[in-house]
């Protein structure tokens, strides 16, 4: 499978269904697309969507999962056209009512503790939790990190979507998160920092399940794939609606 081609296809679908309603967080979804493709569609990574579980902490980026779940047959692709519309099953935040999704979505700082409970209960099952970097401000995340490291829950992989932005601006200007690697290491985690848009690096990091409690810091670009939105905090909730702009966004992916 040409993962790069898939990434373009899914970004294009994301842009279409997000711009059709203007609902949600397009930029946060675009930053995590490649990580999700690597998890779900790269046959060389260990995650098996039929038995393993992915929990979305930063569920506002969760719609990035919808084109992938449609591709895997969890629901029909037509559902993407009814995103956030009456009668449709896909919402702004993925939740347990949507085929292929677990848990609920929308409240930050809680997915990691829920995932820890899953991992504690079923050590033979692999769990992955996706956290936003600005989600790390939630104190509950650090409660859960202590718990995961203490119980050596190496069947739970934590992936941080490090796009560097909160709603108000760059995390390092708003309220410093760095040195992030050292923080995780001091809590007892192995830390892998990689380019969250590089399928080779992602594959190398996820060929095998972790042997120790592990955090992947995936360095990403918020709104990846749409030039004028990339790395700009103001686009957290703004989604362009003009036909010509949407056309140029789609054209830019090619």
């Amino acid at each position: 499978m040409d993962l790069g081609k898939k990434a373009n296809q899914f970004r294009s679908e994301l842009i279409k269904f997000k711009t059709s309603t203007g609902s949600g967080h397009l930029a946060s979804s675009l930053s995590i697309v490649d990580v999700l493709i690597s998890i779900y569609l790269d046959s060389s990574t260990y995650f098996d969507h039929k038995k393993d579980v992915l929990v979305f902490g930063k569920a506002h980026g969760g719609p990035a999962l919808y084109p992938i779940l449609a591709e895997l047959g969890y629901f029909k692709a037509e559902e993407l056209d009814r995103y956030c519309l009456p009668g449709g099953i896909l919402r702004m935040h993925p939740d347990r009512s949507i085929p292929g999704c677990t848990y609920v979505g929308g409240s930050l700082g809680n997915g990691i503790g829920f995932a820890a409970g899953l991992a504690w209960a079923e050590r033979a099952k692999q769990t992955i939790v996706i956290l936003g970097d600005a989600e790390l401000y939630e104190g509950s995340v650090w409660e859960s990190l202590m718990f995961i490291a203490h119980w050596k829950l190496n069947n739970l992989l934590i992936i941080v979507d490090r796009n560097g932005l909160g709603i108000l601006g760059p995390t390092e200007e708003l309220l410093r998160l760095e040195p992030l690697s050292q923080k995780f290491e001091s809590f007892g985690f192995d830390v892998l920092e990689l380019n969250g848009h590089d399928f080779r690096e992602l594959r190398e990091a996820m060929t095998e399940p972790p042997k120790n409690p592990t955090v992947i810091i995936a360095k990403t670009v918020k709104a990846k794939g749409v030039d004028f939105m990339e790395n700009r905090a103001e686009y957290h909730t703004i989604i362009p609606r003009e036909t010509s702009v949407i056309a140029s966004m789609l054209e830019g992916l090619k």
Partner: protein, 319 residues
């Protein structure tokens, strides 16, 4: 005698020895009954540290994996993880049992931070949440068994001291467990006299019983004490049956008077279209900055037996 929380945990321990899906999570809180559990069932015990938010989220994850998690914490701190209870458990559809230790003024004189006096109001608002305040050893045992047999999202309010259990549990109601309420005392009046129902729960049943006695003696009305050991949901059929012949209704609660116990009863009465009024007694303030034993604080803050009785008699006689 044994404190209700140790009765509950003791029974749960017995059941956990035969059911490995029962997992006990302590938010760094102990109990005499817990020591044996930690020694004998270490694989079913999680020390979560003082981290209520993670403890509830982990419990939700355990429940999603088919476990039966019990999260044991000081009742006051259940407010700290309200979002996790609402979001990960209620919204997420993950049934856990929250064991709230030391409800209302149960930790006196620790001060208001340790004394949850609005927990009924905020817990009641969570969809699907059941709330229990078992008042006797028998009820506590029955409830422990029920939580294992039939897992739901529950908030079980447990008394931590031995003097808070009603020693004698009497009821003629065979459905008392299903109904969530039962007649705890009947104080007969003159033949044909008016009838009064007094509603209370948990530790305050001691006081409510004395209030009933005084009212019955002075007015010669017939007074019935009803123990709401389950505060949510309230069984409307049972409530209707219990108040149908009554002329006056009185509620006595160890809570601030907004949205709690009496609020729950008033909502139910309204749904039943029963408009007899409700004479309500609760704490003067949610936050009590005073020293004293629990009983002294109750006396000084709106729940003195003689004062309640005399206010009731005034209202009833002037009606």
């Amino acid at each position: 005698m044994t404190a209700p929380r140790d009765i509950f945990i003791g029974k749960l321990f017995e059941l956990a020895k035969k059911d490995s899906s029962i997992i006990f999570i302590s938010v760094d809180l102990g109990a005499p009954s817990l020591d044996k559990w930690r020694d004998e069932l270490p694989d079913q015990f999680i020390a979560a540290g003082i981290s209520e938010q993670n403890a509830i989220n982990v419990a939700a994850g355990l429940a999603a994996s088919g476990k039966k998690p019990y999260v044991y914490m000081m009742a006051s701190w259940a407010a700290r993880c309200f979002e996790q209870i609402r979001y990960s458990c209620a919204m997420g559809g993950n049934p856990i049992t929250i064991l709230g230790n030391g409800v209302a003024l149960g930790y006196a004189p620790a001060g208001p931070a340790h004394e949850p006096t609005e927990d009924l109001a905020y817990m009641r608002a969570i969809e699907g949440m059941e709330i229990h305040s078992p008042s006797s050893a028998q009820l506590t045992l029955d409830l422990a068994i029920e939580t294992v047999k039939n897992p739901k999202l529950r908030y079980v309010r447990l008394e931590r001291s031995v003097d808070s259990t009603l020693e004698v549990f009497t009821t003629s109601d065979n459905d008392y467990f299903k109904n969530g309420m039962h007649v705890n005392g009947l104080y007969p009046g003159n033949t044909g006299a008016k009838k009064i129902a007094v509603f209370s729960s948990g530790y305050l049943l001691h006081r409510a019983g004395k209030v009933c006695e005084i009212i019955a003696n002075k007015t010669k009305f017939e007074v019935t004490l009803i123990d709401f050991w389950r505060i949510k949901p309230i069984d409307l059929v049972a409530l209707k049956e219990n108040v149908k012949n009554c002329d006056f209704l009185i509620s006595i609660e160890e809570q601030a008077l907004i949205g709690g116990f009496s609020g729950a009863i008033l909502e139910s009465l309204s749904d039943l279209k029963i408009n007899k009024g409700l004479i309500r007694f609760g704490l003067n303030s949610a936050f009590i900055f005073e020293n004293g034993t629990r009983d002294q604080l109750l006396d000084a803050n709106g729940l003195n037996v003689e004062e309640i009785a005399s206010k009731c008699i005034n209202q009833i006689m002037n009606n």
